[in-house]
Symmetry: C2
Subunit: 370 residues, 2 copies
Amino acid sequence: MTTRTKTNRTIWLKESDKKVVQIIDQRFLPHQVVIKDLKNVDEVVVAIRDMQVRGAPLIGVAAGFGMYLASLHLSCGNCSLQMQEAGKHLKDARPTAVNLAHVVDRVLSAVSKLNNPDDIQKTTFQMAQDILNEDVQICKQIGEHGLHLIEDLSKKKNGEAVNVLTHCNAGWLACVEWGTATSPIYHALEQGIKVHVWVDETRPRRQGAHLTAWELGERGVPHTLISDNSSGYLMTRGLVDLVLVGTDRTTVTGDVANKIGTYMVALAAKDNQVPFYVSAPSSSIDWNMTDGFREIPIEKRSENEVKEIQGWCDGTFKKVKVAPERTPALNYAFDVTPRALVTGIITERGIAEARKESLLKLFPEKRGSI
Amino acid sequence: MTTRTKTNRTIWLKESDKKVVQIIDQRFLPHQVVIKDLKNVDEVVVAIRDMQVRGAPLIGVAAGFGMYLASLHLSCGNCSLQMQEAGKHLKDARPTAVNLAHVVDRVLSAVSKLNNPDDIQKTTFQMAQDILNEDVQICKQIGEHGLHLIEDLSKKKNGEAVNVLTHCNAGWLACVEWGTATSPIYHALEQGIKVHVWVDETRPRRQGAHLTAWELGERGVPHTLISDNSSGYLMTRGLVDLVLVGTDRTTVTGDVANKIGTYMVALAAKDNQVPFYVSAPSSSIDWNMTDGFREIPIEKRSENEVKEIQGWCDGTFKKVKVAPERTPALNYAFDVTPRALVTGIITERGIAEARKESLLKLFPEKRGSI
């Protein structure tokens, strides 16, 4: 993939000094592209905590690099203990991020029997690269499977642009290179298939407007920003051919937790016979959960995200108040789209229907764990 | 009705000088309550054009007062011609506002045979008052009919607060005193019935956050602001008992054009068996239209409403950019909710089902006009 900026990834090792990790500091998007050096695990912790990097897959990859940076600065004494402390530090940066904890535990398990700092460094270096490459590979595979959906629609439309609608940001900015929901779009683009993307603004944090619009623009994908209220109307007018969204957690039965508002998009898609697909790497599938509505905990976030909006004004960020001072706001961050509204789930191994047997057919090794 | 501010209306004649009209200049809400004097028809034109007053009913009432102010400043010569020019001036302030044109034509017709400035003044004064009082009366009647819905829900919940969800602003700020969608809520409040209102922010212009939240707060109605994406999720959690919205135009067959996003709220209401009611004064019903989806024209507004947000910062308004510069946006202002999703239509004569025969039963005199 090529982008208009110099980087086509969200995180990488600095070309001139492999002991430094570089990231796009996403807090400044879409108004400024700030590349930031991270030189030690503490700086990775801050980057995760302050949302310089965000998106579950990217946070996991950043944690891998955090463990590598920690290994570069081991002092004399108990290396294993120092690595454990670094891991705890990273986990505490975002306690609800399940895959961050998985990455940390995976690295800790690999270095647990090593005592030599050099060995630990070599191992963590390799693991950080592996974790990054796995993400790239999984997103690529999701894109290859999802590409067929867009190809088919393109044929049906005799090559006219396929209109894809997406909600929030499940793009390369949330991962390393391809994204999940966006990967089929980027793959279609590489195949020369005409695509146009409707980008839901995604209130309250506006990840669609800030991040998805920016990353699509960087890669030259035709796109149009809309208010979240608009997606249903566009569907009634036949202006949406396909909905593609990501997921924070999907049950083995096909219930999909994703950014608040996804459920209403899915309702509109159903009402207008627009196919609704969820890009879900298998790491986001909860193989033990069968009732998303009852079992998936939904995070409430600060009311200030609803009552204040940060934007760009005279070359700097300004936060403006957009509601009466005394009005309270409620801010659930996610919702659950029931399986009945989901046309299919695009995984790295292929596309499944939103039901247990279909998902388990792609991941038979998970049968034992249920 | 009493409010926390000194006024409980959006427009009135100045107490100390009946030749001056006063309005709440709504551009400053919710951050400042600015009362503005309008001394001649030109100032009314500006008030309408610049959205100092907004909402179809209020614009109509303002036009009535505009004609009255015009009559105060007639110069020698052809009074009728001068009144016609004032009327044209008012109509041009908002060419798509059907009821503004109706009000102007109604006043012009009444003064067409008068030549004496005094007679014209008396007539326009009386008509402006009549038009204002009609709005108050119609909104009051809508409230009395809609009140029963809230009463019934309150009984079912053993007096626990009835949770009403509303979209955009169809409140007293859009009318004179009661509003349309809000009128049943204010009536319930006066009856001592516990009510809580979920206020949809209503992107892109954010009328829910700016206006509905403010006006409910002014009248002491418990309410909570939410992002538009949240309403569906709240319904899945049983947190919404009733949806009440206004309408810009409703067909005789029950299709409802209203602020963009209303359709998605209606879909979520249907999916969760939440009753979905539309407050529609008969003036907003189009007795000749049978297919809202095909026949109601939907206005596209500036993309800047999506890409920029105005808010309050350090005691003044600031406009901040909230999307990439190069990203285009599409901004349809309304959508159409099909009759199948509408539980009922609350008119000044009672509640009808969303179908022709039921509406005509309440307004039999309209049979002839179809």
